[in-house]
Symmetry: none
Subunit: 134 residues, 4 copies
């Protein structure tokens, strides 16, 4: 099973941090491995403390279902097919933007979760992080 | 990092209590510090026991995201950007009116959470408390 | 059902705070009512943040079983009759010194929980608080 | 209230990682701030996944009570003054070696938590991390 290493996680986090600094919004950034387990987390100075848990769990969610949390969210609104999924997994399922699978050679090898700004900002920073994985 | 003291918390709570008495609705009132940790809580005689937890967690939420819980709530309705956030942080995120950051010199130094009446009443009492911080 | 009022709780807390100041150890102090539900909590400046939860739950425990938490603790050591009771009530049972029932006219009307120092210090402060109830 | 920055946390983690590499035992290393909230976490390649939570909660515990988790543990054995404390704070209290307060100018500004080896190894790595804070 290919999976992200700590070095991979640091590469992804560095790219995400650079993007967060560029847009001027401090973030919590987390990377999980192929097993959905946390590899590394950073809270940038001034980032929300409520977003620690959210960033880690966005990463968990993205690997748990191999999906962007934003897309899972679209399917989890009232009257949609996964409505209520946020009650599962002991509160670890996050259904709003900022979580993305990390892929290498077409295979999911881990995930990134970002929290600290608007949904759009979180998504932008997560995309910058995910794009940096080699 | 500036933070509220117990004396600050008592000043805030006294002002909130006075407003609650004025509008005739007994309340639970909680104040958290800059780290989101509880400094003090009071339950006025006759106030709801289900609101103990809510007041403490409204205070936590307001510091966790430096936001009024009412505003967070607007962004957490179905199809809004933070829908589902109430599942995070082990059930501590409150997304309805009554929680406010406490600011000193433009900096968030803690928060207040009020629960015991209608959303509008909770908000009114929280605002009276927050305004009293020196 | 006779029960402590917010005014009673403040009387108890003031006496406990004075004792904590006298012995030079900042404390978390909580008072619960006849229903075991929190009436008021204060964290003195510099008191441990891990003791917020403990003080509130020592108060809960003392009313839950109408017992001093120190005495419950003696009965909850390995090979004693209540060993394992700390796993009940969703982690709210505290089995070490610092929690006491509050009595009026021989009847338990609430409880106090103190946390922030050694077991002996917590107990001393709780006793000072309990003695102040009128 | 002085608190650790992300840069501080990285300095501490780097020193801890170097020590873990030196003794040949991969570790989870976490740093919390003055409010007990996570600043950063790393899991070295090959470190136990069960130790993610433990490292984060050792850091929480050390700041929650301004104590080494090893010393808290000595006081939390059966028949000792804090026996049962591990049931408090929703399962976040760790009572074995590997957590240390971080001090600057004699003041606790955060904490480190290490998990991944024997108690002695965890302690050694935590000490190396704590010593690196400037």
């Amino acid at each position: 099973m290919d999976t992200v290493t700590l070095e991979d996680a640091r590469t992804v986090i560095a790219a995400a941090e650079a993007k967060a600094a560029e847009i001027g919004q401090p973030m919590n950034i987390a990377v999980a491995d192929a097993g959905g387990n946390l590899v590394s987390h950073v809270r940038m100075d001034g980032a929300w403390i409520g977003s620690i848990d959210i960033s880690i769990n966005k990463a968990f969610t993205s690997r748990a279902f191999d999906v962007a949390t934003k897309d899972l969210g679209d399917n989890s609104q009232p009257n949609q097919q996964f409505y209520g999924i946020h009650a599962s997994n002991h509160g670890r399922i996050m259904i709003f933007a900022g979580g993305l699978p990390l892929r290498r050679n077409g295979q999911v090898v881990g995930s990134i979760g970002v929290s600290g700004g608007s949904g759009e900002q979180d998504q932008t920073v997560a995309e910058a992080g995910a794009a940096a994985l080699k």
